[in-house]
Subunit: 255 residues, 2 copies
């Protein structure tokens, strides 16, 4: 390992350990010409199943296009305020077209193929996010695509075999960069050899710091709830909503 | 942006653009004490849905444990030769236990919750991979977990609501680092505003370089096929296998 690599390592780890999503963008500052192409090209070197690259990304940077996607994202301002909105998709369509043009028949247009494609697409997206942040840009995942998955597919003209997963907002931050978010202690997510089921004491130890944050206390009060978990379970991610997402997902996943 | 950040940016982009998966590990060289904990802690700052961290990682570094997982990974040598094998899981179990301990009922134990958990887990895994590579380690995704998903769940003692996705081998490379793999041209995966369906000419333009690689020509000959697409569709990723994966997935995904 040479000295240059050693210096870089410290920087990457340090920077990624301090990263935070950016939700407010400088609307007046466009991306440098060619920067998305440069970052996406580098991101394509991320690992991919059998080197098939079962993903696509749709770049939306027109004012009209971002405004339409903002509506589908429940009006979240950053969808239109960012310089570009990138919608990442699991994609077995292109592979299928390749097979059809080469006397073969793709076997990926089903849940097994789509599982690989989803993993490929998320790996590609996260590599892009890391690269964009290294370039000095801010990013934020918008996880609201599954709530309107059919409308996104129609708006982006997606063929069968292409499943939109999420959008990523990209642009220069407005004002100061946000501080990193709180996280659970590592022991909550890391297991050794076997999965260790949490005891009641573990739950208290892992979640009490999060529950005590001023913003958590405020969420509980604002929503008239007794616990932070109730805010998550009843208000933010209620069962009926997730079951609807699951039902809407089926024709895309088992395509 | 200060000078230090500017210098770092070039390094990250340069390094990630040249990265490659490592399939041969130095069996004699263990990981430095505490390095996995350091890298996983930094990786936890990666984006996660609503800051729920719907993932877990199981570290297998005992000789016996790696050997058992190697068998489930169809005997791939790197599963046992690496210093540690990390199996990343989508996890709505811990969140459910938190809710149950806080007078709430999780609504994530279904396909909608599992979709978020899968994305969270893959983002976390890829951030770990980037950090591990920056640390000078080699990594390789083993995508064979879904082929034996129930056996992995049993071996790792996974409760309901925890879906194993893939393992990542980590260790010091044996010998020279491999060269980066070929990739499709960017225009094959990047779309502007709308998805552009490939024409026959596009398929030829995007896939001809891959098809002409010496290793592709060899794969075709070794498998007695006419085209590279036939090797992928008939031999490597056949329909029946993917449909079995999809069927086995259902109880994990719609948990």
């Amino acid at each position: 390992m040479n000295r240059r690599e050693t210096g870089m390592e410290k920087n990457i780890i340090d920077v990624l350990a301090r990263r935070a999503s950016v939700r407010a963008y400088d609307k007046e500052r466009p991306l440098p010409q060619g920067v998305l192409e440069k970052l996406l090209t580098a991101a394509m070197q991320a690992p991919t199943t059998g080197n098939m690259q079962l993903y696509s990304v749709i770049i939306t940077d027109s004012t009209d296009g971002k405004e339409r996607l903002k509506q589908l994202h429940f009006g979240q301002p950053m969808a239109a305020d960012c310089a570009a909105l990138l919608t990442f998709c699991a994609d077995v369509h292109r592979f299928g077209r390749w097979c059809a043009a080469r006397k073969a028949q793709s076997g990926l247009d089903n849940g097994g193929g789509m599982l690989m494609a989803m993993e490929d697409a998320v790996i590609f997206a996260q590599q892009f996010v890391t690269l964009a942040e290294a370039e000095g840009l801010g990013t934020c995942y918008l996880g609201t695509v599954p709530y309107n998955i059919e409308a996104f597919a129609k708006e982006l003209n997606l063929p069968s075999g292409v499943m939109p997963l999420f959008s990523v907002a990209v642009g220069y931050p407005a004002g100061e960069r946000p501080a990193p978010s709180d996280r659970l202690p590592l022991e909550a997510v890391m297991h050794h050899e076997k999965y260790r089921r949490p005891a009641a004491d573990d739950i208290d130890a892992w979640y009490s710091a999060k529950e005590a944050l001023p913003e958590s206390v405020r969420f509980i009060a604002e929503n008239g709830k007794e616990t932070l978990a109730q805010v998550y379970a009843d208000v933010r991610y209620p069962r009926a909503q997730n079951e609807k997402i699951a039902a809407d997902l089926v024709p895309f996943f088992f395509c």
